[in-house]
């Protein structure tokens, strides 16, 4: 009997509570939260007894991130993970505001695998685009003068071609 209680206690101890900016609470396993380097360091120095506030991340984003972390803490086969990652990104990519928040949050929480995944997906959006198309898509102002453009072409590159 005594051993079972200890086991339950151990299980309980491994859970940690994260609080989003809109005060939503998430109770996850420690190994899931550890996927975030920042939360890992916080847990190391402050323990997991009290809830950890993640002030810069909203509830829906944190939920999605924890979903990713949970999947990635299971250690499944690489092919399964790649397929899952792709579906996860396809879903996130549809809503640009959500995608943007997800990127900021994963960077803030320092989840390197997710940052990598998002950066590769984002980079994919820039492929095969002309400078003008990129400027339009991301609302960037062209502050290069004609001479500077020419200078770039002559010193930096070879023949102009789309990516």
């Amino acid at each position: 009997m005594a051993t079972i209680i200890t086991k339950e206690q151990q299980e309980k101890e491994k859970m940690v509570t994260l609080v989003s900016s809109d005060s939503e609470k998430f109770v996850v396993e420690q190994k899931v939260a550890e996927k975030s380097h920042v939360i890992k360091m916080v847990m190391n120095c402050c323990g997991i007894e009290s809830p950890i506030p993640v002030r810069r991340v909203k509830g829906d984003i944190l939920k999605s991130i924890l979903e990713y972390c949970e999947k990635h803490s299971k250690g499944e086969a690489q092919e399964v993970m790649e397929k899952w990652d792709k579906e996860y990104m396809d879903k996130a990519e549809k809503d640009l505001v959500f995608f943007h928040d997800l990127m900021l949050a994963s960077h803030f929480l320092h989840i390197q695998e997710l940052v990598d995944l998002i950066a590769v997906t984002f980079a994919g959006m820039l492929k095969m685009k002309s400078p003008e198309e990129i400027r339009q898509k991301f609302n960037i102002n062209n502050d290069l003068t004609k001479e500077q453009e020419e200078h770039i072409m002559t010193t930096f590159g070879w023949a102009f071609q789309p990516i």
Partner: protein, 427 residues
């Protein structure tokens, strides 16, 4: 109350972790930050403060470091502080935008540079190079040095894939040396010595392939021409090319702020003119007119080169997959296995390559053996061919080559020019 203080501490920790992650993300200014942290009086004071005060002190310090983060890269020849430019993408912090840009292939950099000044600036920065290198996304770039009949030395950055034709504005080192030795480290080319107005010079010229600019490095202890140069374990070695009696016959440079240090050498190995130099498995191999030396950098020991190697090595060589490649007296490519002390012929390439490869230059192009030679086409301009081949070992202890690409390079240089160097940098 204790819970409240716990939350303050937790928030502070979050901030601290976040901020230091930012500062440590790029090895580029790691040492810089560490140095300033350690010398800043606020740092030692912070140790005595309570959690809240310490938090604000450290936040102030971090802001200070971020302001120092000036990436100075040239646009149109003028140095420009990156921090003075608008953000790369308006709604994203730059450190995230950089992560995205790092993932795009180098062949797209020209197009991306034309988006805005900040894009152009970041794409040429050391920061992006360091990030790409840490993500193992660097790819090789050929640097081709052509010497024209009028004696000028032109450097062309060439990317055989996807576009073999470099633009026709080559890069010129600031000092017109001849007979200089080359070594490459990461994205930088080191051009050591060479004669300047007929006198061996101690000058070190560094070409940064990211910004396409030349700069001067720390001078060697002695003037050298036709010396040996090699990059090994992040250091640059130079040997010979000076009077053999000089105690500084061999020396080593610690790049990134260090200077040249003498490498002790026994006088019997000291030769004047070096014909070829290569690095295999932690050893630097140098051939001279007759014989040559091997330097084991870890043990600091010098020894003679194997006789078989000396007999078959014609000067120009490249090391690919631990084998030294050069051409034999018939102009055929051969590979030398140092462990087995054996020359191996490369089969399977007879059809794709000219029969005589005398005068060809060789380079290791990202694990491929890259050959560059002058074609005999009857043209007004010099025409250069460039081929990349994968080398694999056969069961019968031979080598077989597979030509993956073969491209014609038109550099717009006059006839009777010649290729003096062909090296690769990682960018």
């Amino acid at each position: 109350k204790s819970e409240k203080s716990n939350i303050v501490q937790t928030e502070f920790c979050l901030y601290l972790c976040r901020s230091f992650n930012f500062n440590n993300k790029f090895g580029y200014h790691n040492d810089h930050t560490r140095y300033h942290c350690a010398t800043d009086p606020a740092f030692s004071k912070a140790k005595k403060l309570n959690t809240k005060q310490m938090g604000s002190t450290i936040i102030n310090m971090i802001h200070k470091f971020q302001l120092q983060r000036n990436i100075v890269t040239p646009v149109n020849g003028e140095p420009m502080a990156f921090s003075a430019l608008p953000p790369l993408v308006p709604f994203l912090p730059d450190e995230i935008s950089i992560q995205i840009l790092a993932r795009l292939s180098r062949s797209s950099h020209t197009t991306l540079s034309l988006v805005s000044r900040s894009w152009c600036s970041i794409l040429r920065s050391q920061l992006l190079v360091a990030l790409r290198s840490s993500l193992h996304l660097s790819s090789p770039l050929l640097l081709l040095n052509v010497r024209t009949p009028s004696g000028s030395s032109l450097w062309f950055p060439v990317d055989p894939l996807p576009n073999p034709n470099p633009n026709l504005n080559p890069s010129l080192p600031s000092l017109p040396v001849s007979g200089a030795a080359t070594a490459t480290l990461g994205h930088e080319l080191y051009l050591l010595g060479g004669s300047l107005n007929g006198i061996p010079s101690a000058v070190v010229q560094i070409f940064d392939a990211a910004s396409r600019r030349w700069s001067l490095g720390p001078r060697m202890s002695t003037g050298r021409e036709f010396s040996a140069a090699a990059a090994l374990n992040g250091r640059i070695y130079a040997a010979g090319g000076c009077t053999p009696s000089a105690s500084t016959w061999a020396e080593v440079l610690h790049p990134g702020g260090g200077g040249w240090d003498m490498v002790p050498s026994p006088s019997e190995v000291r030769e004047r003119w070096m014909h070829g130099c290569a690095v295999i498995g932690g050893r630097i191999l140098v051939v001279v007119d007759r014989g040559g030396v091997v330097f084991d950098a870890e043990a600091g020991k010098w020894g003679p080169v194997p006789k078989k190697l000396d007999l078959g090595w014609r000067g120009r060589a490249a090391v690919v997959e631990g084998l030294l490649f050069t051409y034999d007296y018939l102009g055929k490519i051969r590979g030398y296995d140092l462990e087995a002390d054996q020359w191996l012929t490369v089969g399977g390439v007879e059809k794709g390559l000219p029969r005589f490869l005398h005068g060809a230059t060789l380079a290791n192009y990202g694990g491929l053996l890259c050959l560059v030679w002058e074609s005999r086409a009857q043209r007004k301009d010099m025409e250069i061919m460039c081929a990349g081949m994968r080398i694999s070992r056969t069961e019968a202890k031979g080598l077989v080559g597979e030509i993956l690409w073969k491209e014609k390079l038109v550099l717009g240089v006059p006839k009777r020019s010649y290729i003096a160097h062909c090296v690769t940098v990682d960018l």
